[in-house]
Chain length 197, copies 2
DNA sequence: CCTACCGATCGGTAGG
DNA sequence: CCTACCGATCGGTAGG
């Protein structure tokens, strides 16, 4: 009867926009993501694209959410069921390296790119990136703490120092892989992580 | 006689453009750097700005050169005269941390930001960023090799692994400082570096 | 170095 | 979801 799309079709279109937005934003940045380009590549009008989100900023926030979903699916979900503490840290670290190694997004780790892009700015987009980054670091920190409590790591472990060094390994993996095309970077990351844990 | 500017004045204007361009690009990215904004903040016309460079891409390349000059002045120059090998690595590492700690540019390390922005693209700008990054890493690598040769580091040292971990420390310093405002990050970087060297 | 201007694209809106 | 349109800004040029 009605030419209107069903709710399911609307959701599907929205997801198509976000899937492509994630790919484009990882390569060109969240600011370089434009409504016109999304529309052209999806065979839609600009109004059709932005209608799902209202403003470009809302679109950027939705893409960040989509990136977070991808990361959660690829890293913490793969360590689910593993005992908290050192085993969890090792499983999550392996999943994290594997996630970066498989190049799921053309621009590498979405959050590394977004963090570098927005660390000098202010506003809701920066805040969302900070929130996601902080959330995952809290998750790691809790597990480091537990590993120390259980005696899986030395009692004099500096928890924030170890967290710093784990994050450093992953940032470097993304850097060497994306900028220098270094195929040995995942092996280096694994070796560095083994030494820490 | 002539209303034309002298060559010295022209050079001075060009340098003013580059100085501001470096500040703006570190915060908003090399792509976010616009000719119109530079012109407005310098009280010039757009034609006056772009006339010094020809195209935006040439302007971006000139800003990269200016960033390289700043880095060289702040890091390798400060380690000049220090014996090559482990002493040089320690001096350069301290200067590098100090450079990031003093927040000389509002967006943190220019090359870290530029690397993340252009690692998913192609062209002369990306190539220039890769070249600068590779140059400095070669410098570090030579000194690691020498430190091993001189017995300052263990003979079984994996040179590229150590280089990877040094770069990782600096990437993390920039990340924690810029994104999370972590004032303890420089201390963490120093501690991690001491453990490596 | 300027004014004056170009076509292209930006994010976004009105109305259907 | 579309067409048609808006003002603003983009990089860049002509001519002086």
């Amino acid at each position: 009867m009605s030419p209107r799309k069903t709710a399911a079709e609307t959701r599907h279109t929205r997801q198509r926009i976000l899937d492509l937005g994630l790919v484009l934003a990882s390569a060109e940045g969240l600011e370089g993501l434009t409504i016109g380009r999304l529309a052209a590549e999806l065979g839609m009008s600009k109004a059709g694209v932005i209608g799902h989100f209202g403003t470009k900023e809302s679109l950027q926030l939705a893409v960040i959410d989509a990136a977070a979903e991808l990361f959660v699916r690829e890293v913490p979900e793969r360590a689910r069921g593993v005992p908290r503490g050192l085993p969890y840290l090792r499983a999550a670290g392996d999943a994290w390296i594997s996630y970066l190694e498989r190049d799921l997004l053309p621009g590498g780790c979405f959050f590394t790119a977004a963090a570098a892009e927005f660390d000098g700015r202010e506003g809701p987009v920066r805040d969302a990136v900070v929130r996601m980054s902080a959330f995952w670091q809290r998750e790691l920190r809790v597990n480091i703490w537990r590993a120390v409590s259980l005696g899986e790591l030395p009692p004099d472990t500096d928890i924030d120092q170890l967290l710093y060094e784990i994050v450093a390994i992953m940032l470097a993996l993304n850097h060497f892989r994306q900028l220098h095309g270094d195929v040995q970077a995942p092996a280096r990351a694994r070796r560095a992580l083994e030494r820490l844990l």
